[in-house]
Symmetry: C2
Subunit: 210 residues, 2 copies
DNA sequence: GTCTATAAAGAGATAGAC
DNA sequence: GTCTATCTCTTTATAGAC
């Protein structure tokens, strides 16, 4: 029930196809390092044809960033919508975050790392939504602290930063055909963030069901 | 003894000044998003003057990447050179990594994120050294597992990936004048990686001396 | 909706004076 | 070691035919 796979490719509009291809190129070569010619050629088009679908290169970056934010916001809403205990909610949120981000890798990574290339207005809108998402994570952590599930000697803010650090850098090395599945990584990160790496915290480590 | 501050700025050669300025611009705007004109103007030069010091733009990226790798390799050597227990060595390595990376932020971040812009030969050399560094971290983790300090239900490789995830993403939000010092973050990450975030692993959490 | 052709600007890099 | 001037190539984007 965590799996948010990409929508069936057949349903993609031409514009969505362009956004997806742009995301792949931007993530591989950087926004400024990708040319409209490369994008056109990746879609078997001439570059002038792209301008029938979008007005400027910047628009591509802005819209694919919005796409990825909307996807992860929706996934977080589902994860937090249930009846679970605070610490279990955090676990569900971590898993939703990792699985969603990695199933939408190029867009998500580009959104996270290429904000500098947006116009001021675009960047402000993206930042506003990113901040809202960060607050969601931080509040979930805060709830888990108040319920006695998480340590309170570190602020919710610092715990949120450390957690998202661990989750987000995965985009730099994750490969869908690699040694670890997104679900496996999600469970590992949740366990490490909560239980830590020490052998003292549970020896053989029977695990938490999942 | 962990502090590896930047060398006194007065000692920088013109070439090193250019590398440092290039690193700041590359990290702010991306490698492809930075022009030689911008770099020249940041140094109060005309762009032709830069070519007296370097042959090509690519060289800047390669050399600043090497600089940052050499710095962090040296810091790791110092951290691991002592007599400490395996788990304590890991703690020292984590602190050296974070403090060194954050004191050399633009170069380190550019090295980590702009490898794609290097030529094949340059990229292979940088990758070789990054892999060697990763092995150093992984072996330190492995030693701590064998000494009974770290859990063994996760592979040393997976633990290394999760740890470096948590440490490396810090470059995206760290501000030298922000709420947290590099040393504070280093200690926090070490504690979180080893002890975890759970309130169950030590309640009030007296802390581990540092 | 895609094409050919082209405009206008800016890129990396070099020549040669001082 | 820095400058002015310039070459050559590529960039984003538009015009207008099909």
């Amino acid at each position: 029930m965590l799996s948010q796979d990409t929508p069936a490719p057949e349903v993609l509009s031409r514009r969505d196809e362009i956004l997806a291809t742009a995301a792949d190129l931007f993530w591989a070569n950087g926004y400024a390092g990708t040319t409209m010619s490369q994008l056109a050629s990746s879609m078997n088009l001439r570059k002038a044809s792209l301008y029938h679908h979008i007005d400027k290169k910047e628009t591509l970056l802005y819209e694919l960033s919005l796409d990825s934010l909307q996807r992860i916001e929706a996934a977080a809403e589902v994860a937090l919508g249930g009846e679970a205990e605070p610490l279990e909610k955090l676990r569900l949120l971590i898993e939703a975050h990792v699985v969603t981000a990695l199933s939408d890798r190029s867009k998500h990574a580009t959104m996270l790392t290429e904000m500098r290339a947006l116009t001021t207005e675009q960047r402000e809108e993206i930042l506003r939504r990113r901040d809202a998402y960060d607050s969601l994570v931080e509040n979930t952590i805060s709830d888990a602290q108040q319920s006695g599930g998480l340590r309170t000697d570190l602020s919710a803010r610092l715990l949120r930063l450390a957690l998202l650090n661990m989750l987000n850098w995965t985009i730099f090395w994750f490969r869908p055909d690699g040694s670890f599945s997104a679900e496996e990584l999600a469970r590992t990160f949740a366990s490490l963030f909560i239980d830590g790496g020490s052998a003292a915290n549970g020896a053989g480590r029977p695990g938490q069901s999942t």
